[in-house]
């Protein structure tokens, strides 16, 4: 089951967020987003410093798992961060995140003349395509 998706740009702004199947409603969305970004920043820093071998801070961290959810992470070299939270049993979604970046985000956001880079994503077509893609995944509602 997929719970939500976050997309952050390089200065920490959450440019897209959508929730599905969530049982608990968040109190303050923007607080949650800031917390998430900050946590990931620290986590990446920690992972890089504690790794026994040299690790790339963008591609090193893939996911973490708790008793109630799994967080999948993909960061591009242009510092755009794609995060999906799913239930703990969902297999690694890193490849799906890569596809969402290259086939949906680049095509319908970056190539959208109406979209101004760095701003929140609200483009209709992107939202539709993203939902289409996620909902056809077997792990979306299982």
């Amino acid at each position: 089951m997929i719970y939500n998706i976050y997309i952050f740009n390089k200065d920490g702004t959450c440019i897209y967020n959508e929730d599905w199947n969530k049982k608990k409603q968040s109190q303050n969305q923007s607080e949650d987003q800031k917390l998430l970004f900050g946590m990931l920043y620290s986590l990446k820093a920690f992972i890089t410093s504690s790794s026994p071998k040299k690790i790339d801070d963008k591609t090193g961290f893939h996911c973490y798992k708790t008793s109630t959810y799994k967080l999948h992470y993909y960061e591009t070299l242009s510092c755009i961060k794609f995060i999906i939270m799913s239930d703990p049993n969902v297999p690694d979604l890193r490849d799906d995140l890569k596809k969402i970046y290259s086939q949906i985000f680049v095509e319908y956001v970056i190539k959208n003349p109406i979209y101004k880079p760095g701003t929140t994503v609200k483009c209709d077509t992107f939202i539709n395509q993203l939902n289409l893609y996620l909902k056809q995944m077997p792990s979306f509602s299982s």
Binding site: E107, N112, P113, C123, D124
Partner: protein
Amino acid sequence: MSDPLSNPTINTTNVGGQTTTQNIIGGIGSGKSNSVGTPYTTPLQTSAHTAANSLSATNSPIPTHHMINSNSSNNLSGMATPGGPGLQQQQQQQQQSTISSNNLGLLGQQSQQQQQTILSPITTQPKSISASCFEFFYIEMIDCIMKSSSDKQHAHKKLDKLGFKVGHRLVERLSLDTALFPELLDSVKFICKVFWAMVFKKTIDGLKTNHKGVFVLTDSKFQWLQHLSFDSSASNKDCSEYVQFTAGLIKGAMSNFGFKCIVTFDIQQVSTCVFTIKIES
């Protein structure tokens, strides 16, 4: 295809049936192309393989009745650099030309001249760039024009003018191997097929006409609107600036065929664009 205007008494001779490409630089050429008001009066339809080049005639100082039988690409290109002729004309011609009886003498002279100024043969390979490269450039260009204009109307005028220049020159390069268009409809069909394919890699999906100088072209998947979408909450969903340039392209193309027209467009649902060409008689 039978051409009611072809003159059966003129014979063409090809040079062994093969194409020879010869380059004439600077020999022929006025700085600008002149669009003639009416289509050519003595078009020549010779064989299926060789065709008269209607547009090279407009660009040469030779009177317009003159037709050059050319089966190879004619590189007419242009960037208008201000204050100077940016157009370089290279004409690649076959040795034998078919001419209308009016200008036999003149052409005979001309061919000799051309042969004397022939340099080395050049074969030009069409160059490609990635479609997304142009798309990104296009987005920025529209943005730049919109920002540098005082209001939307002014911006649209600028885009129309820009499109006109580009369309006019593009058509010169495209219609090299094409037969003359005795009818307006053929020119429009050329735009729907060859021109559109060059710019958008597809043809126009629907063409309608009232045979009185009005043509309606429908592109149901207009390339430059494919990735465009608005916020669902947006109040202003006007993206006409992304299509205005194309209207200019059509206008410029038609003008090079010798037809002055007004081109308007209508953006319908999703990415369907309908262009209406009204010929000014």
